[in-house]
């Protein structure tokens, strides 16, 4: 077969598959509608959960950026030595940034944070707060193990009297993140399986309605793949439409719901406002719909196409 002929043959097949898939959608509009609606509802549920996870994860990551190790310094350490120590600590692996806090700065902070309890320090006379280094960690070290390793490296450095951190909180943070992801993953799998079951049974009706066509195709020498591709395309189209509708539905719900829950969301997410899916995430949701449609079609065809 010459190359142009092979190309024309390929184009003819693509044209046939597309035409047959569209004809199939037109031939069974109710079945198509049920499949699209099922996929839309599933993706709205899964997408809503993903949106919550995405925003909570964003919040947790922002809080994670504040994970620091505080090194309290010797009372007698001169400003010059403190600066030198800070420079040394910056070279420790896993350290991203070091902020040097003098005794005076520590007092000022306490007073600002204390809001009216500054008299406590005045009562003591001398400033009891030590100078310190606030050490923030590189993003890949913002976990319990990362904190432990960095603290191990800092321990024993001359001028440091004590090391403090929020290791327990870090562990809690990592645990919450893992739990959220696991729940999201489990929920996604369950929803996908339920949808697969419903949509594949719906598509099975369409396959049954077209059993004469399938029989004739196999009689004239169509392979299983040739018979299956239009059904898979139909599934992909239905899924993609379901995905697009889910994105539109979630977008609508997001815009409608956001003003009503504004104050509650501020409690959960703090000052940073919640965000909707990015363009690539919306495309991913549509692609997930298409994939769900294809897998459902494949499941409905499995064992149903015999030569």
């Amino acid at each position: 077969m010459s190359a142009p002929r092979a190309l024309r043959a390929f184009a003819a097949r693509v044209l046939y598959f597309a035409r047959t898939a569209l004809r199939g959608l037109r031939a069974s509009p109710l079945t198509s509608l049920v499949a699209v609606v099922t996929i839309t509802v599933t993706l709205i549920l899964a997408g809503a959960f993903a949106l919550v996870v995405k925003n909570m994860q964003g919040l947790l990551e922002r809080i994670g950026e504040d994970v620091t190790v505080t090194a309290y310094l010797d009372e007698g350490l001169a400003d010059q030595d403190r600066a030198a120590l800070a420079a040394r600590v910056r070279t420790v692996e896993g350290v991203q940034e070091v902020v040097s806090v003098s005794k005076d700065e520590a007092r000022q902070r306490f007073e600002r944070a204390g809001q009216g309890r500054a008299d406590l320090l005045q009562a003591l006379g001398e400033n009891p707060l030590p100078a310190s280094l606030e050490i923030s960690l590189a993003p890949d070290r913002r976990n319990a193990e990362g904190v432990r390793v960095v603290m191990e490296s800092l321990r024993g450095l001359p001028g440091i009297t004590e090391l403090a951190n929020a290791q327990d909180w870090v562990q809690g943070y990592a645990g919450a993140l893992s739990l959220l992801r696991a729940v999201g993953f489990g929920l996604g799998i369950m929803l996908a399986l339920a949808t697969l079951l419903i949509v594949s049974n719906t598509i099975r009706l369409a396959v049954y309605a077209r059993r004469d066509e399938i029989e004739i195709l196999t009689l004239v020498g169509a392979s299983r793949t040739f018979v299956a591709i239009p059904f898979l395309l139909e599934g992909a189209l239905q899924g993609a439409v379901g995905g697009a509708l889910a994105v539109a539905g979630l977008g609508g719900l997001y815009r409608l719901a956001l003003p009503s829950f504004g104050s509650a969301l501020t409690l959960v997410f703090g000052d940073s406002p919640p965000s909707f899916f990015s363009a690539s995430q919306m495309i991913a949701l549509i692609a997930a719909g298409a994939l769900l449609g294809v897998v459902s079609s494949a499941a409905s065809l499995a064992g149903g196409l015999r030569q």
Partner: protein, 243 residues
């Protein structure tokens, strides 16, 4: 040109068999035989009738030949391939070399005459323009080019069978199987259909027609295989064939 080469091959007669059955049996229910111990050969370019009463096993034999069923026992070689042992993936390529015509036409009612015929070409990936030209040519051959945009249900029984024959022949098959192709037609229409099938045989296609219509058997006088209760009871050669 494929047809030309097949004409040359056809002149070789029965020595190059397209269909070979060795002690073939088919059972759907334990203890009962739809076909029992059949041994026969059909050579390239032959036109053979398969006859016998209803339930004799004609359709079962045709289904074994186009690999819709596997034999319970024995060997079947079709176009050089042992279909009893063939992998499922090798069945479609084999079927593309076989045209099949049924009593009930098996046309898709929602597709036009042209689309029904073109289906056989689309399956093998024939480029669109070539597929259109070949579909038009075969429809002209069966006298239905003016009906190509009609749907099958708006055609008469004879016309529907002509569409089915056009679909079976459009791919220039090496073997044409017809299962009671005139069973639903009046006598004049039946002869018209047999003329079309006979024309395909004259152009080099090997033809096996299952029929119990004695008028057709008397008129065409070809090699005739007679089945009774699943057994081959008679193999009458065509008059003057010398076999």
């Amino acid at each position: 040109m494929r047809t030309g080469s097949r004409d040359a091959e056809a002149s070789g007669g029965r020595d190059a068999a397209l269909v070979r059955l060795y002690h073939v049996s088919k059972s759907y229910l334990a203890g009962t035989w739809a076909l029992h111990d059949l041994t026969l050969e059909i050579g390239k370019g032959e036109f053979v009738f398969l006859t016998g009463p209803s339930g004799a096993g004609k359709t079962s034999l045709l289904r074994l030949i186009f690999a819709a069923e596997r034999p319970s026992d024995g060997q079947i070689l079709i176009l050089g391939r042992n279909v009893g042992r063939a992998r499922e993936s090798s069945i479609p390529p084999l079927r593309r070399r076989i045209g099949v015509v049924f009593q009930d036409f098996k046309l898709l009612p929602r597709r036009t005459v042209e689309e029904n015929v073109r289906l056989a070409l689309e399956v093998v990936g024939t480029p669109t323009r070539e597929a259109r030209a070949r579909t038009f040519a075969i429809l002209k051959q069966v006298g239905l080019q003016h009906r190509r945009h009609h749907h099958p249900l708006s055609l008469s029984g004879g016309e529907q069978q002509r569409v089915a024959i056009a679909r079976a022949l459009v791919n220039e098959p090496e073997l044409l199987l017809a299962d009671e192709p005139t069973g639903n037609l009046d006598p004049d229409m039946a002869l018209e259909i047999l003329d079309l099938i006979s024309g395909a045989a004259a152009r080099g296609t090997t033809v096996l027609v299952a029929t119990h219509d004695q008028t057709i058997l008397r008129r065409y006088r070809r090699r005739t295989l007679r089945l009774e209760a699943g057994r081959l009871v008679e193999d009458t050669p065509a008059p003057g064939s010398g076999t």
